[in-house]
C-alpha cells in the first residue's frame, strides 16, 4: 500500500509538464521543485537535527555566484562552477559549524544570520562579484552545456532529478544510524550525548550535507534565471523562505518541504500577480502572518496535523467496531 503512494507521487511529478502543456504551469512547477530542493536541504539540519539555521542563504548564494563567476572569468560552462560552489559552501559550513554547533541552539541561529549578512555585505561591495548589480550568465547558449533553455521543461526535469536524489538520500538517512542520531539530538542533546552519540560531529555532518544541497539549489537557480544579485542570493528572506516552506509542510518529515513548496510557491506567485510589483510588501505581510499562525497553532506543520486527524479517525473507528462487537457479544449472550 505504501509503495502505491510513492509511485503515484513520482508519476505525477514526472508527468506534470506533459499534462499542463502551458508555459505558466511549467514555470510554476519548476519553481516549486527548486524551492522544495532548498527547503529539503534545510530540513536536514533544521528539521531532522533540530538546529534552526536562519542563514542557509549563504550556501544558496555561494552556489549561485560560482557558476556565474566561472563564466565571467573564463567563459566556461556554468556547470563547472557547481562543484566550486559546493566547495565554498562546505568551507563556510565548517567555519560556522565547528564553534557554534558545540553550543546550544540559539547561538547557531544567530551565527548563521550574522555570517549570511556579513557575506552579503562583502559581496555587495566586491567588484569581482559585480558588487550590488551582480553577475550575468551567457545570454545565448553556445551549446547544451551552457544550460540555457527557453522552455522551463528542461529545468523542471533537472530540478526533479536533484530533488529525487536528495529525497532518496534523506530517506536513507532516516533509516540509518545517522538518522537515529539526528533524531536523538533533536529530542534532547544532553540525553543523546549521555547515550554516547557524538553530538557535535553529527550535527556538523548534517550541516555540511545541508550546505551541499543548498549550494546545488543556488546553482540550479542561477542557470534557470541567468543572473544573480546579492539580495536574491544572500538576502535574509532567501533563508527565511527555506525555513518557512519546510515548517509549513512539516519540519523533520521527508515530504514536508515538497508539500510546503507546493502550497507556498503558487500562493506567492498569485499574490505577486494580484498585487503587482508594488505589492511585495503585502506578500511578506501574508508570509509573516502564515509563519506566526504555524508557530502558534501548528508547529509540527501540515503533515503532523494530517497525521493527528488520521489517528483520531482511526481511534474513533476502532471504538465503533469495539462497541459493535460488544453489542454483538451481548446479543449472542442474551439469545
Amino acid at each position: 500500500m505504501r509503495h502505491v503512494g510513492w509511485i503515484v507521487l513520482a508519476t505525477a511529478l514526472l508527468l506534470f509538464p506533459l499534462s499542463f502543456n502551458n508555459p505558466y504551469y511549467e514555470q510554476l512547477g519548476s519553481l516549486v521543485l527548486l524551492a522544495a530542493i532548498s527547503a529539503s536541504a534545510w530540513n536536514l539540519i533544521g528539521g531532522y537535527a533540530g538546529q534552526v539555521s536562519v542563514g542557509n542563504a549563504v550556501f544558496f548564494g555561494a552556489g549561485a555566484y560560482m557558476p556565474m563567476l566561472f563564466y565571467k572569468l573564463w567563459q566556461v560552462s556554468p556547470l563547472l562552477g557547481f562543484p566550486a560552489g559546493i566547495a565554498v559552501s562546505l568551507a563556510i559550513a565548517v567555519v560556522i559549524g565547528i564553534p557554534t554547533l558545540r553550543l546550544s541552539g540559539h547561538y547557531f541561529s544567530m551565527a548563521t544570520i550574522a555570517v549570511a549578512e556579513l557575506i552579503r555585505i562583502v559581496v555587495s561591495n566586491w567588484g569581482l562579484l559585480g558588487a550590488a548589480i551582480g553577475l550575468t550568465g551567457p545570454a545565448t547558449p553556445r551549446g547544451w552545456w551552457d544550460l540555457v533553455f527557453r522552455s522551463s521543461v528542461p529545468y523542471y526535469y533537472m530540478f526533479l532529478a536533484v530533488l529525487l536524489t536528495l529525497l532518496a538520500i534523506t530517506y536513507g538517512i532516516q533509516r540509518s544510524r545517522f538518522g537515529y542520531y539526528l533524531r536523538a539530538i533533536r529530542g534532547g542533546e544532553r540525553a543523546a550525548r549521555s547515550l554516547g552519540v557524538p553530538v557535535s560531529r553529527y550535527k556538523l555532518y548534517a550541516f555540511m550535507l545541508s550546505a551541499t544541497f543548498t549550494s546545488l539549489a543556488g546553482s540550479l537557480y542561477v542557470v534557470k534565471f541567468g543572473f544573480i544579485d546579492p539580495g536574491s542570493g544572500f538576502g535574509i528572506l532567501v533563508s527565511v523562505n527555506m525555513v518557512l516552506i519546510a515548517a509549513l509542510g512539516g519540519a523533520g518529515r521527508l515530504l514536508g518541504p515538497l508539500l510546503g513548496a507546493a502550497i507556498l510557491i503558487p500562493l506567492q506567485t498569485e499574490t505577486n500577480n494580484l498585487f503587482g510589483g508594488g505589492g511585495t510588501g503585502l506578500t511578506y505581510i501574508l508570509y509573516g502572518g502564515i509563519i506566526v499562525l504555524i508557530a502558534r497553532f501548528e508547529p509540527g506543520g501540515l503533515l503532523e496535523m494530517w497525521d493527528r486527524r488520521r489517528a483520531r479517525r482511526a481511534a474513533r473507528r476502532a471504538r465503533a467496531t469495539e462497541s459493535a462487537t460488544d453489542a454483538a457479544a451481548r446479543g449472542s449472550h442474551a439469545a
Binding site: A114, L118, I291
Partner: protein
C-alpha cells in the same frame, strides 16, 4: 583631535545600541526566547517619534516618552498573544513566531508609511557643539547621554527594586519564584514591556539624527544580536559594555576603512566572539 572625535561619536551611538540591546538581552536571558523582531520594535519607535512630532509637534522628551509607552504596550501584547503560547514549545516554533512578527511589522510599516525615507528636522535639538575642539552634533550627544542614563536606570530597576528582584527570580527559577508567590506570567509580560520600551526610547532618540525607513530595523536588529551575544545573554551590564565597544568599532572602521564596511567589522567580531568566548563578556557559563 579627529581621532578623539571619532571615538566620542562611536561611544555616543554605542550607548544607544546598549539601550535597545539591553531590552533584547532581558527577555532572552529570562525566557530563552530570541525576539527577532526587536529591530522592528526600534523602527516602530522611530515612526512613533516621527508622527508624534509631525502631527502634534511634540518635543523630544515627550515623543520619547510616548514611544516608550506605545512600545511597552506592544511588548506586553506580543507576549500575551504569541510568546506565552510558544515559549515552551519546540525551538523552531519560537524562532518562527518572532520571525513572522518581524516580517509582519517590517512590511506593514513599509506598506503603511511607504518606501521613502523620512526624518525629523535637522535642527530639532539645536546646532552642533564644540567641546574643546571636538565637534559634537547635539542630537547625538543627547541621544548618547540619555541612552546611557536609561540603560543604567534599567540595570538599577532590575537589581535594586522589588519588581526587578521578582523579574530576576522568575528568570532564575520559574518554579521557585511561583512558590514565593510571584506570578511568572505577570513578570514575563512586564519584561517584554520593558524590552519594548527600551527599543521605543532608543528608536525615538535615533530618529533625531538618522533617516527613518521601514527597513531600518534589519541592521539595528542584527546589531542588537551582536551586542547581546558579545555582552553575554541576559546581562544588562554586559550589553552596556558591548554596545559601547560595537559603537566604537563601527565608528573607527567607518572612518578609517569606509562606511560600507562598518558592519563587516561588527559581524566579524561576532564570529570571533563565538569562536573564542561563546558565552560573551559577562554571560554565565
Amino acid at each position: 583631535m579627529i581621532f578623539l572625535q571619532v571615538i566620542v561619536a562611536g561611544l555616543l551611538i554605542g550607548a544607544v545600541y546598549a539601550l535597545f540591546s539591553s531590552g533584547l538581552t532581558l527577555v532572552w536571558g529570562m525566557m530563552n526566547v530570541i525576539n527577532f523582531a526587536h529591530g522592528e520594535f526600534v523602527m516602530l519607535g522611530m515612526y512613533v517619534a516621527f508622527w508624534a512630532f509631525t502631527l502634534a509637534h511634540f518635543g523630544v522628551a515627550s515623543f520619547s516618552a510616548i514611544a516608550a509607552v506605545v512600545l511597552f504596550m506592544l511588548g506586553v501584547l506580543v507576549y500575551l498573544g504569541l510568546i506565552r503560547n510558544v515559549m515552551r514549545g519546540p525551538m523552531l516554533a519560537q524562532i518562527l513566531s518572532t520571525f513572522g512578527l518581524l516580517l509582519v511589522l517590517r512590511y506593514a510599516a513599509f506598506w503603511a508609511f511607504g518606501a521613502n525615507f523620512v526624518g525629523l528636522p535637522d535642527g530639532i535639538l539645536g546646532p552642533s557643539l564644540n567641546v574643546g575642539g571636538i565637534l559634537l552634533s547635539a542630537p547625538k550627544l543627547v541621544a548618547g547621554v540619555v541612552a546611557l542614563a536609561v540603560t543604567v536606570g534599567m540595570h538599577l530597576l532590575l537589581t535594586r527594586t522589588m519588581l526587578g528582584s521578582r523579574i530576576l527570580a522568575v528568570a532564575e527559577d520559574r518554579n521557585a519564584a511561583m512558590l514565593m508567590g510571584i506570578r511568572p506570567d505577570h513578570m514575563q509580560a512586564i519584561a517584554w514591556g520593558l524590552s519594548g520600551a527600551s527599543a521605543g526610547i532608543a528608536g525615538a532618540l535615533i530618529a533625531t539624527f538618522f533617516p527613518i525607513s521601514a527597513t531600518v530595523g534589519e541592521s539595528l536588529g542584527l546589531i542588537a544580536f551582536v551586542v547581546v551575544t558579545f555582552g553575554g545573554f541576559g546581562s544588562v551590564p554586559g550589553a552596556m559594555i558591548a554596545g559601547l565597544v560595537i559603537g566604537l568599532i563601527e565608528s573607527v572602521s567607518a572612518f578609517y576603512v569606509g562606511p560600507e564596511y562598518q558592519d563587516v567589522f561588527v559581524y566579524a567580531l561576532f564570529v570571533l566572539v563565538l569562536w573564542v568566548r561563546p558565552r560573551g563578556l559577562m554571560g554565565k557559563a
